[in-house]
Protein backbone atom coordinates (compact mmCIF):
# COMPACT_ATOMS: atom_id res chain seq x y z
CA UNK A 1 0.00 0.00 0.00
CA UNK A 2 2.60 2.55 1.10
CA UNK A 3 5.23 2.16 -1.60
CA UNK A 4 6.59 4.74 -4.03
CA UNK A 5 3.66 4.05 -6.32
CA UNK A 6 1.03 4.97 -3.73
CA UNK A 7 -1.63 7.27 -5.12
CA UNK A 8 -1.53 10.71 -3.50
CA UNK A 9 -4.17 13.43 -3.72
CA UNK A 10 -2.83 16.99 -3.34
CA UNK A 11 -5.52 19.51 -2.35
CA UNK A 12 -4.81 23.26 -2.52
CA UNK A 13 -6.67 26.21 -4.03
CA UNK A 14 -3.41 27.74 -5.34
CA UNK A 15 -2.20 26.07 -8.54
CA UNK A 16 1.37 27.14 -7.72
CA UNK A 17 1.27 25.32 -4.37
CA UNK A 18 -0.08 22.14 -5.99
CA UNK A 19 2.74 22.34 -8.53
CA UNK A 20 5.34 22.86 -5.79
CA UNK A 21 4.08 19.87 -3.79
CA UNK A 22 3.90 17.71 -6.93
CA UNK A 23 7.53 18.55 -7.77
CA UNK A 24 8.70 17.93 -4.22
CA UNK A 25 6.84 14.59 -4.15
CA UNK A 26 8.52 13.64 -7.45
CA UNK A 27 11.90 14.51 -5.94
CA UNK A 28 11.29 12.23 -2.94
CA UNK A 29 10.09 9.41 -5.18
CA UNK A 30 6.30 9.75 -5.41
CA UNK A 31 5.01 10.24 -8.95
CA UNK A 32 1.46 8.85 -8.76
CA UNK A 33 -0.15 12.19 -7.88
CA UNK A 34 -3.53 13.75 -8.61
CA UNK A 35 -4.78 17.24 -7.68
CA UNK A 36 -7.94 18.99 -6.43
CA UNK A 37 -8.47 22.70 -5.90
CA UNK A 38 -10.76 22.54 -2.86
CA UNK A 39 -12.21 20.14 -0.30
CA UNK A 40 -15.44 19.32 -2.11
CA UNK A 41 -13.65 18.45 -5.38
CA UNK A 42 -11.21 16.37 -3.36
CA UNK A 43 -14.05 14.49 -1.67
CA UNK A 44 -15.60 13.68 -5.06
CA UNK A 45 -12.25 12.35 -6.31
CA UNK A 46 -11.70 10.34 -3.13
CA UNK A 47 -15.14 8.72 -3.47
CA UNK A 48 -14.67 8.03 -7.17
CA UNK A 49 -11.23 6.37 -7.01
CA UNK A 50 -8.89 4.77 -4.49
CA UNK A 51 -6.26 7.07 -2.99
CA UNK A 52 -3.62 5.95 -0.50
CA UNK A 53 -2.69 9.34 0.93
CA UNK A 54 -4.08 12.90 1.09
CA UNK A 55 -2.04 16.09 1.40
CA UNK A 56 -4.33 19.06 1.96
CA UNK A 57 -4.17 22.79 2.57
CA UNK A 58 -6.27 24.32 5.39
CA UNK A 59 -7.48 27.61 3.88
CA UNK A 60 -9.58 26.93 0.80
CA UNK A 61 -12.87 28.29 -0.54
CA UNK A 62 -16.08 26.20 -0.59
CA UNK A 63 -14.71 23.43 1.66
CA UNK A 64 -11.62 24.16 3.81
CA UNK A 65 -9.11 21.43 4.59
CA UNK A 66 -10.41 20.91 8.14
CA UNK A 67 -13.91 20.18 6.79
CA UNK A 68 -12.43 17.80 4.21
CA UNK A 69 -10.59 16.03 7.02
CA UNK A 70 -13.80 15.70 9.08
CA UNK A 71 -15.69 14.39 6.03
CA UNK A 72 -12.97 11.81 5.36
CA UNK A 73 -13.06 10.60 8.98
CA UNK A 74 -16.88 10.35 8.91
CA UNK A 75 -16.96 8.34 5.67
CA UNK A 76 -16.61 4.59 6.41
CA UNK A 77 -14.90 3.95 3.07
CA UNK A 78 -12.36 6.78 3.52
CA UNK A 79 -11.84 7.09 7.27
CA UNK A 80 -8.54 5.19 7.34
CA UNK A 81 -6.94 7.32 4.57
CA UNK A 82 -3.87 9.12 5.97
CA UNK A 83 -4.18 12.92 5.86
CA UNK A 84 -1.27 15.34 6.06
CA UNK A 85 -2.30 18.95 6.60
CA UNK A 86 -0.05 21.45 4.78
CA UNK A 87 -0.83 24.98 5.88
CA UNK A 88 0.30 28.47 6.71
CA UNK A 89 -1.82 28.32 9.90
CA UNK A 90 0.84 27.78 12.55
CA UNK A 91 -1.42 28.73 15.47
CA UNK A 92 -1.46 26.22 18.30
CA UNK A 93 -5.25 26.05 18.41
CA UNK A 94 -5.37 25.13 14.71
CA UNK A 95 -3.03 22.23 15.28
CA UNK A 96 -5.19 21.11 18.21
CA UNK A 97 -8.36 21.35 16.09
CA UNK A 98 -6.70 19.36 13.29
CA UNK A 99 -5.46 16.69 15.67
CA UNK A 100 -8.90 16.40 17.31
CA UNK A 101 -10.40 16.01 13.83
CA UNK A 102 -8.04 13.11 13.16
CA UNK A 103 -5.17 14.55 11.12
CA UNK A 104 -2.16 12.24 10.82
CA UNK A 105 0.39 15.02 10.69
CA UNK A 106 0.72 18.74 10.11
CA UNK A 107 3.37 20.69 8.18
CA UNK A 108 3.72 24.47 8.00
CA UNK A 109 4.56 26.30 4.77
CA UNK A 110 7.13 26.94 3.48
CA UNK A 111 8.76 23.52 3.82
CA UNK A 112 11.60 21.56 2.23
CA UNK A 113 11.58 18.22 0.43
CA UNK A 114 13.32 16.71 3.45
CA UNK A 115 10.64 18.01 5.84
CA UNK A 116 7.82 16.66 3.67
CA UNK A 117 9.53 13.28 3.32
CA UNK A 118 10.00 13.10 7.10
CA UNK A 119 6.29 13.74 7.72
CA UNK A 120 5.19 11.17 5.14
CA UNK A 121 7.62 8.61 6.56
CA UNK A 122 6.39 9.25 10.13
CA UNK A 123 2.76 8.72 9.07
CA UNK A 124 3.56 5.52 7.15
CA UNK A 125 5.70 4.19 9.98
CA UNK A 126 2.98 4.79 12.60
CA UNK A 127 0.31 3.13 10.42
CA UNK A 128 2.54 0.15 9.68
CA UNK A 129 3.44 -0.34 13.34
CA UNK A 130 -0.23 -0.13 14.35
CA UNK A 131 -1.20 -2.91 11.92
Amino acid sequence: MFDNNMKILVVDDFSTMRRIIRNILKEIGYTNVDEADDGSTALEKLRAAKFDFVITDWNMPIMPGIELLKSIRQDPSLKSTPVLMVTAEAAKENVVIAVQAGVNNYIVKPFTATALKERIDIIISKINSAQ
Binding site: M17, R19, N23, A88, P110
Partner: protein, 197 residues
Amino acid sequence: MSSKWNDVMGNIKEELSNLARFVDNTRKGIETFETTVMEGAERIPEASNQLKTVTGDLENAANNIMTILEGLIDENEKIGHKVTALSEWAQALPPAQAANGAELLAGIEALNAATKQRMMEMFGHLSFHDLSGQKLKKVIASFAAVETRLLEMALNLGIEQGAENKGDMLRELKDAGAKTDPLNQNLVDKILKELEA
Protein backbone atom coordinates in the same frame (compact mmCIF):
# COMPACT_ATOMS: atom_id res chain seq x y z
CA MET B 1 -40.20 99.47 28.19
CA SER B 2 -39.52 99.95 24.47
CA SER B 3 -35.78 99.84 25.11
CA LYS B 4 -36.11 96.57 27.06
CA TRP B 5 -38.26 95.07 24.29
CA ASN B 6 -35.63 96.06 21.72
CA ASP B 7 -32.92 94.38 23.81
CA VAL B 8 -34.92 91.15 24.03
CA MET B 9 -35.58 91.20 20.29
CA GLY B 10 -31.90 91.88 19.62
CA ASN B 11 -30.88 88.92 21.78
CA ILE B 12 -33.43 86.63 20.09
CA LYS B 13 -32.22 87.77 16.66
CA GLU B 14 -28.59 87.06 17.62
CA GLU B 15 -29.48 83.62 19.02
CA LEU B 16 -31.49 82.76 15.88
CA SER B 17 -28.59 83.92 13.73
CA ASN B 18 -26.17 81.69 15.72
CA LEU B 19 -28.60 78.79 15.40
CA ALA B 20 -28.88 79.31 11.63
CA ARG B 21 -25.06 79.34 11.29
CA PHE B 22 -24.84 76.14 13.37
CA VAL B 23 -27.49 74.41 11.22
CA ASP B 24 -25.72 75.58 8.03
CA ASN B 25 -22.32 74.33 9.26
CA THR B 26 -23.84 71.00 10.31
CA ARG B 27 -25.54 70.63 6.91
CA LYS B 28 -22.23 71.38 5.14
CA GLY B 29 -20.48 68.89 7.43
CA ILE B 30 -23.00 66.18 6.60
CA GLU B 31 -22.63 66.91 2.87
CA THR B 32 -18.83 66.62 3.14
CA PHE B 33 -19.22 63.43 5.17
CA GLU B 34 -21.59 61.95 2.56
CA THR B 35 -19.11 62.80 -0.23
CA THR B 36 -16.24 61.25 1.75
CA VAL B 37 -18.26 58.11 2.47
CA MET B 38 -19.29 57.76 -1.19
CA GLU B 39 -15.74 58.37 -2.46
CA GLY B 40 -14.46 55.77 -0.01
CA ALA B 41 -17.12 53.24 -1.05
CA GLU B 42 -16.35 53.82 -4.73
CA ARG B 43 -12.58 53.40 -4.30
CA ILE B 44 -12.69 50.16 -2.33
CA PRO B 45 -13.78 47.91 -5.25
CA GLU B 46 -10.97 49.45 -7.32
CA ALA B 47 -8.45 48.66 -4.56
CA SER B 48 -9.81 45.10 -4.28
CA ASN B 49 -9.44 44.62 -8.05
CA GLN B 50 -5.86 45.91 -7.92
CA LEU B 51 -5.04 43.41 -5.17
CA LYS B 52 -6.60 40.59 -7.22
CA THR B 53 -4.42 41.66 -10.15
CA VAL B 54 -1.35 41.56 -7.87
CA THR B 55 -2.31 38.00 -6.79
CA GLY B 56 -2.65 37.00 -10.46
CA ASP B 57 0.69 38.60 -11.36
CA LEU B 58 2.38 36.79 -8.47
CA GLU B 59 0.87 33.49 -9.65
CA ASN B 60 2.13 34.07 -13.21
CA ALA B 61 5.60 34.99 -11.95
CA ALA B 62 5.73 31.93 -9.67
CA ASN B 63 4.58 29.66 -12.53
CA ASN B 64 7.18 31.13 -14.91
CA ILE B 65 9.94 30.57 -12.35
CA MET B 66 8.71 27.01 -11.77
CA THR B 67 8.73 26.28 -15.52
CA ILE B 68 12.38 27.40 -15.66
CA LEU B 69 13.20 25.42 -12.52
CA GLU B 70 11.55 22.26 -13.90
CA GLY B 71 13.67 22.66 -17.07
CA LEU B 72 16.84 23.12 -15.00
CA ILE B 73 16.06 20.06 -12.85
CA ASP B 74 15.44 18.03 -16.00
CA GLU B 75 18.83 19.11 -17.39
CA ASN B 76 20.44 18.46 -14.01
CA GLU B 77 19.16 14.85 -14.13
CA LYS B 78 20.49 14.46 -17.71
CA ILE B 79 23.92 15.67 -16.52
CA GLY B 80 23.71 13.04 -13.76
CA HIS B 81 23.06 10.29 -16.32
CA LYS B 82 25.97 11.49 -18.49
CA VAL B 83 28.31 11.56 -15.50
CA THR B 84 27.31 7.98 -14.69
CA ALA B 85 27.99 6.96 -18.31
CA LEU B 86 31.36 8.73 -18.21
CA SER B 87 32.25 6.96 -14.95
CA GLU B 88 31.60 3.59 -16.57
CA TRP B 89 33.68 4.62 -19.59
CA ALA B 90 36.52 5.89 -17.35
CA GLN B 91 36.80 2.46 -15.69
CA ALA B 92 38.16 1.09 -18.99
CA LEU B 93 41.09 3.55 -18.93
CA PRO B 94 44.56 2.67 -17.58
CA PRO B 95 44.44 2.54 -13.72
CA ALA B 96 46.18 5.90 -13.06
CA GLN B 97 43.97 7.77 -15.54
CA ALA B 98 40.86 5.90 -14.34
CA ALA B 99 41.49 6.99 -10.74
CA ASN B 100 42.06 10.58 -11.83
CA GLY B 101 38.93 10.53 -14.01
CA ALA B 102 36.81 8.96 -11.26
CA GLU B 103 37.87 11.69 -8.83
CA LEU B 104 36.97 14.44 -11.29
CA LEU B 105 33.63 12.83 -12.12
CA ALA B 106 32.81 12.36 -8.43
CA GLY B 107 33.42 16.10 -7.99
CA ILE B 108 31.04 16.92 -10.86
CA GLU B 109 28.45 14.52 -9.43
CA ALA B 110 28.66 16.19 -6.00
CA LEU B 111 28.27 19.65 -7.56
CA ASN B 112 25.32 18.43 -9.58
CA ALA B 113 23.63 17.00 -6.49
CA ALA B 114 24.21 20.24 -4.54
CA THR B 115 22.75 22.28 -7.41
CA LYS B 116 19.66 20.08 -7.47
CA GLN B 117 19.19 20.45 -3.74
CA ARG B 118 19.33 24.24 -4.08
CA MET B 119 16.80 24.14 -6.93
CA MET B 120 14.46 22.07 -4.74
CA GLU B 121 14.88 24.65 -1.97
CA MET B 122 13.85 27.30 -4.49
CA PHE B 123 10.70 25.29 -5.20
CA GLY B 124 9.87 25.33 -1.49
CA HIS B 125 10.45 29.10 -1.28
CA LEU B 126 8.06 29.66 -4.22
CA SER B 127 5.24 28.96 -1.78
CA PHE B 128 5.61 32.69 -1.04
CA HIS B 129 2.85 33.05 -3.65
CA ASP B 130 0.46 30.94 -1.62
CA LEU B 131 1.41 32.66 1.66
CA SER B 132 1.14 36.21 0.28
CA GLY B 133 -1.97 35.26 -1.73
CA GLN B 134 -3.75 34.10 1.42
CA LYS B 135 -2.86 37.35 3.19
CA LEU B 136 -4.10 39.37 0.21
CA LYS B 137 -7.36 37.40 0.26
CA LYS B 138 -7.85 38.44 3.90
CA VAL B 139 -7.16 42.09 2.99
CA ILE B 140 -9.71 41.88 0.13
CA ALA B 141 -12.27 40.38 2.56
CA SER B 142 -11.59 43.23 5.02
CA PHE B 143 -12.08 45.76 2.20
CA ALA B 144 -15.42 44.13 1.39
CA ALA B 145 -16.51 44.44 5.04
CA VAL B 146 -15.50 48.14 5.16
CA GLU B 147 -17.25 48.73 1.83
CA THR B 148 -20.45 47.22 3.25
CA ARG B 149 -20.34 49.49 6.31
CA LEU B 150 -19.65 52.58 4.18
CA LEU B 151 -22.54 51.79 1.85
CA GLU B 152 -24.82 51.22 4.85
CA MET B 153 -23.87 54.70 6.08
CA ALA B 154 -24.30 56.15 2.61
CA LEU B 155 -27.74 54.60 2.32
CA ASN B 156 -28.81 55.98 5.68
CA LEU B 157 -27.43 59.42 4.88
CA GLY B 158 -28.18 59.79 1.21
CA ILE B 159 -31.55 58.24 0.56
CA GLU B 160 -34.83 59.93 1.43
CA GLN B 161 -36.82 58.11 4.09
CA GLY B 162 -39.54 57.36 1.57
CA ALA B 163 -37.24 55.43 -0.76
CA GLU B 164 -39.15 52.22 -1.43
CA ASN B 165 -36.30 49.74 -1.64
CA LYS B 166 -34.02 51.15 1.09
CA GLY B 167 -34.96 48.37 3.51
CA ASP B 168 -34.31 45.68 0.89
CA MET B 169 -30.91 47.11 0.04
CA LEU B 170 -29.90 47.33 3.71
CA ARG B 171 -30.91 43.68 4.15
CA GLU B 172 -28.86 42.69 1.08
CA LEU B 173 -25.90 44.64 2.44
CA LYS B 174 -26.22 42.91 5.81
CA ASP B 175 -26.25 39.51 4.09
CA ALA B 176 -23.28 40.43 1.91
CA GLY B 177 -21.36 41.72 4.94
CA ALA B 178 -21.73 38.36 6.65
CA LYS B 179 -19.85 36.70 3.80
CA THR B 180 -16.11 36.86 3.25
CA ASP B 181 -16.46 37.18 -0.52
CA PRO B 182 -16.13 40.65 -2.01
CA LEU B 183 -19.39 42.52 -2.22
CA ASN B 184 -21.55 41.73 -5.24
CA GLN B 185 -20.79 44.39 -7.85
CA ASN B 186 -24.43 44.49 -9.05
CA LEU B 187 -25.63 45.42 -5.57
CA VAL B 188 -22.97 48.12 -5.29
CA ASP B 189 -23.94 49.52 -8.68
CA LYS B 190 -27.63 49.48 -7.69
CA ILE B 191 -26.93 51.41 -4.49
CA LEU B 192 -24.64 53.91 -6.18
CA LYS B 193 -27.25 54.50 -8.87
CA GLU B 194 -29.93 55.04 -6.20
CA LEU B 195 -27.77 57.56 -4.37
CA GLU B 196 -27.01 59.53 -7.51
CA ALA B 197 -30.73 59.78 -8.30
